[in-house]
Subunit: 131 residues, 6 copies
Amino acid sequence: MGTVPLLEDDALAPRARAVFDDIRATRGTDFINNFWRALAHDPDTLEAVWSRLKSVMAAGSLDPLTKELIYIAVSSANGCDYCIHSHTASAKSKGLTPEMHTELLAVIGMAMQTNGLVKALGVQTDDAFLA
Amino acid sequence: MGTVPLLEDDALAPRARAVFDDIRATRGTDFINNFWRALAHDPDTLEAVWSRLKSVMAAGSLDPLTKELIYIAVSSANGCDYCIHSHTASAKSKGLTPEMHTELLAVIGMAMQTNGLVKALGVQTDDAFLA
Amino acid sequence: MGTVPLLEDDALAPRARAVFDDIRATRGTDFINNFWRALAHDPDTLEAVWSRLKSVMAAGSLDPLTKELIYIAVSSANGCDYCIHSHTASAKSKGLTPEMHTELLAVIGMAMQTNGLVKALGVQTDDAFLA
Amino acid sequence: MGTVPLLEDDALAPRARAVFDDIRATRGTDFINNFWRALAHDPDTLEAVWSRLKSVMAAGSLDPLTKELIYIAVSSANGCDYCIHSHTASAKSKGLTPEMHTELLAVIGMAMQTNGLVKALGVQTDDAFLA
Amino acid sequence: MGTVPLLEDDALAPRARAVFDDIRATRGTDFINNFWRALAHDPDTLEAVWSRLKSVMAAGSLDPLTKELIYIAVSSANGCDYCIHSHTASAKSKGLTPEMHTELLAVIGMAMQTNGLVKALGVQTDDAFLA
Amino acid sequence: MGTVPLLEDDALAPRARAVFDDIRATRGTDFINNFWRALAHDPDTLEAVWSRLKSVMAAGSLDPLTKELIYIAVSSANGCDYCIHSHTASAKSKGLTPEMHTELLAVIGMAMQTNGLVKALGVQTDDAFLA
């Protein structure tokens, strides 16, 4: 699969190489996953996505593992296989246990089910829920 | 809106009334939101969904607030306005602060963006991510 | 709402008027719902969609009511409120009973749930299921 | 693919084994498809999904084949490849003919098309369609 | 993968063969991609889809390459891998440069992101945007 | 609707006010649409989204109007009503004619239809389409 070739390290433009260097330093590993190798054709987007991702996924009011669970939830609803696999791996590296994983899956399944029911029923939002 | 009328309390079948009683007792409020009033035409599904929801959303390895965040994430990706509003209200009642809310939104936006990029690029899953 | 104005009968181009005439004759009612009034700005697409819809939704190996159920299912997954409402109304006019409606909803909810679980689990298709 | 390993029979917890026994007895085959083997890590969800699925997909006001068509429709809109394949196989075992299959596909395609048009046009729901 | 076998040329019904002939003549190549071979089981839908596609994707107020970009955008949001790959190939044959491709991807990512933010925020449409 | 209140100008934090100033200067209008007023609770995301949007939607290898069409296409597939309305208005201000609009809609409808057919058929990607 793939609509662009994956770029090997020796094919990177200088700005893309700098992003790869930062990914490696930030993650403490030499491994660069395919998403970045595909995105590396466009140093602008590569820089923008990586820099924003690093900031958004960092610890804040929500911890990094919780953020990975949210990421997996969105990716599951959207059916992005790659994203599900990469962020499940990332969540495991941040402490996701098998018990947490099964609970995450149960909530995703539950939300999908009621999303479908609500839409098919055309339920109007209660006034109590509006900000 | 609505493909079925919302059922008032005096129009409920006995099994639906029992579910409403349990919703009220569990939540400690007399308020029943529209989703349950729309679903009440079908006591089977009403019972199944409520009973499973109560179990799935309870504290476990993940806390109830984290589960609400996951629920909102799925509902946002699916574009279920009702679900987003009802579960954001529920999350607030379970401790969601404005700071947590903004971080939740930022992660949802980030995941949506990379979901789209990954799909358009057709990125193949790295072997390292397979269980 | 609306990204284009809805066209009244006296604003129709001749080819659009001919399609409206055929909708009225086919359905045996003077009522033209908003979708067609919005689409009428483009007689090409209006003709193509109406003519294909009439053919696809007609009785064949599947009866017209079953086809409406399939239509509602797709529209619910896609979150198209208008389509859900219009095709639920259409299904009712073709014999959808409240019992059938509740079963339709239960199946939609079930499918949504397992769709989410399957995606989050990244389940590989069994060889037995390939044509 | 897969975010969890598929469980073989000898790795099942007792409650998961009981569900597998019931799947085999209900379907009259020894074959257990991958979805259940992935879900078996979580006996709670396995039990809840299987037991609800068995009830929801049984004959009622809608026959089992019609329910499979609805399932395929939802799964196609959601892009769940596994679900499309498994429920198309199931539909075939319940009597889906090639003629019915082609009509199902035509309706799915039609619904997808008008879903997209309606959304892009922002069509407001006609009062006549509200319950 | 596949819920139907792909039809080889010698298995085509006469009406399907005629469509294949027209695809070959229109595109100036003997190659028929898998989509048409899967759709060929149903000459009605094959004819309707091909004939409408040829008309819709032809040069008009929008040029053919712009139409391919729109097609890729929809397919990316829907997660249709096949469609993304086939229409990216088609776009390249119509002049898509690597620079245009990276800009297309950036816009898709941006739109996905704000779609998610808007939905999670439940933003109400400004009056200024209504037609 | 809304999960957060829309912020009026006098409720903005300094960094949010600076973004609003730049939106007004860039667009040459005093009008700020609801999306930015909802996002303004989070100056980080407001800055990041606006600054990236301004860069991504600017003229490059693709012209600004083409980029708006791509944006509308993604938003239609995702069913983001707000985004469809705001970017259709934006496209009109950049030269979208009624003829171009109808062609855009026809392509969106076509892509939605074949996305659904391809998924329901489970068509495997042709080797010829892989980069």
